[in-house]
Amino acid sequence: MDLFLHQILAGLATGGIYASVALALVMIYQATHLVNFAQGEMAMFATYLAWALLQAGVPYWGAFAITVASAFVLGVALERIVIRPVENSPILVIVIVFIALLVIFNSVAGWIFSYTIKPFPSPFPAQPLFGNSYVSSHELGSTAITLVVLLLLFVFFRFTPLGLAMRAAAQNPVSSRLVGIRVGWMLALGWGLAAAIGAVAGMMVAPTVFLEPNMMGGVLLYAFAGALLGGIDSPGGAVLGGFIVGVLENVVGAYVGTELKLTLALVVIVGVLVVRPSGMFGRVNVVRV
């Protein structure tokens, strides 16, 4: 029973990481109706940036802030420079551009920082908080940070004029343009936010999986599964889905064997798509003929 409880708590911690990447995916999906395959690699690249800053002697939270800010700028720049010219192309062209971004980030990171695995520090103390033996303080801390990010996003979208404008631009671009919202910039802003969230997720996952160019591969897939499970157009659902996938992954890993972990993601994705394609909290899209 102790083992089971421990697995669930550890699962919640990894689930927090999946939840933040899932959240980033949902952000871009809401703004553009595209799933960004390069999301994981963008997060990985931002984490390397944080590592470089830490190596240069910047204190952790300073590096954290600089990284999140530069990831935001990078995301905006990517949308304006790379994605915008193909905005109105067929979906497959955009998918190929995403794949291209994925390999570029992966390769450039390997080129600049080499492929050797690097340890990445955790901002949280090494000994468990509150004297419990179930969950390390890093796990607890990263889960808390995920929840804080979610709360901030919720507040931003719900209570600020800019958030309202972004939601409007995603829902009805034409009418939004008519009332004076700069739809193009709202998209870029969405990319920036997603990149920033991804950067946070990258810095939280790096202490557990270690820093290397391919570290986000599995994470991205679980994040997909989580986002689908919760509903790809529901940020809250995506977070919950991410946590559920994290717990499932850990429990399956402990009791069935680790070699089928990725297959679990496949089962979750296909299962959700077959039983309830809109996910737990997603809206069912009704198309008028």
Partner: protein
């Protein structure tokens, strides 16, 4: 072949003659590469049927390539079947698997299908490595295949013989695809891509056609996987990772969606551009590859075949003032 005008027929004949002459003028390693290009062309044609003609995006066709390759390897290594007999069997196995995967995929569209197939592609190496199958698949060690010898009367080297063997299959698969896509079924496929509801109203059995397309597409890719495996003489789980699936999709889009000749352009691209990128920059070859990809998408959003079609139309317009 009705519908193929004389100019095109001559062009195809000339290309075929050139293709037959090719292995006698280049070295063995280049012949091996050309064989892989031919195998990729079959796989791309299969994926193009699904994605280009039928509008279903698959990010996991590497899985079918893997299933075809493993079927061939197991049949040859464990059951001692001759290499030529493995191609149809691999195709048939993949047809069944593809058809079955296509059934749940019927409910999915666009992005969701892309995600489901993406997961299939990512999970495939793990499934192949699983202990339960290790007796057949050899686990992470993979299976080694003996390279088939050319029959004595031909006097060809092994690589040359394999090239002609693959070329023969290419001809068979392309003639079949050409007939399939020009006929009733091909039109139904395109109709489903463009106007699913109208197609249904016209009496097209959309779900059957869609899952059949999935099956046939998997058949092509599986047969290509078998041919590729015989050429490489080796199958291992990690050579069929998600990048293979992405590469196949890249080949289809670069070659040209809904274009038969595009399969060849795409196959040449995915076989040779990584090598060229590697020569340009040893440090970050994949970055060069990604930049080339983006450049292609900016300049030729309809792929190489679409670009050539446009260029030809423009030249024809200029020629007659």
């Amino acid at each position: 072949m009705a519908g193929l005008d004389r100019r095109k027929l001559v062009a195809v004949a000339v290309l075929l003659v050139l293709a037959c002459a090719l292995p006698f003028v280049i070295g063995n390693y280049r012949v091996f590469q050309a064989t892989l290009v031919l195998a990729y062309a079959i796989a791309l044609l299969g994926l193009n049927m699904l994605t280009g003609y039928n509008g279903q995006i698959s990010l996991g066709h590497g899985a079918f390539y893997a299933i075809g390759a493993y079927t061939a390897a197991i049949l040859m290594d464990k059951l001692g079947l001759p290499y030529w007999a493995t191609i149809p069997i691999s195709g048939a196995v993949c047809f069944v698997v593809g058809f079955l995967f296509g059934l749940p995929a019927l409910r999915l569209e666009g992005l969701y299908l892309a995600l489901a197939t993406f997961a299939l592609g990512v999970a495939m190496p793990q499934i192949l490595k699983h202990e339960g199958l290790a007796h057949w698949t050899g686990g992470s060690q993979g299976v080694v295949i003996v390279k088939p010898d050319a029959p004595e009367w031909t006097g060809l080297s092994q690589d040359q013989w394999l090239y002609f063997f693959t070329l023969a299959w290419v001809v068979v698969f392309f003639v079949v695809a050409w007939n399939l896509l020009r006929g009733r079924i091909g039109r139904a496929m395109v109709a489903i891509r463009d106007q699913p509801i109208a197609a249904q109203a016209m009496g097209v059995n959309t779900s059957l056609v869609k899952s059949l397309t999935f099956g046939v597409s998997a058949l092509y890719t599986g047969a290509a996987g078998a041919l590729g495996a015989i050429a490489v003489q080796f199958v291992a789980p990690d050579s069929f990772n998600i990048f293979l699936s992405l590469t196949l999709l890249i080949g289809v889009v670069i070659g040209g969606l809904a274009s038969i000749s595009g399969a060849f352009f795409g196959a040449i691209f995915i076989q040779f551009i990584p090598n060229i990128a590697d020569q340009i920059s040893k440090a970050a070859p994949w970055a060069i590859y990604g930049i080339v990809l983006i450049a292609f998408m900016y300049m030729m959003p309809t792929g190489i075949a679409g670009f050539l079609r446009l260029a030809r139309a423009r030249l024809a317009r200029r020629a007659r003032p």
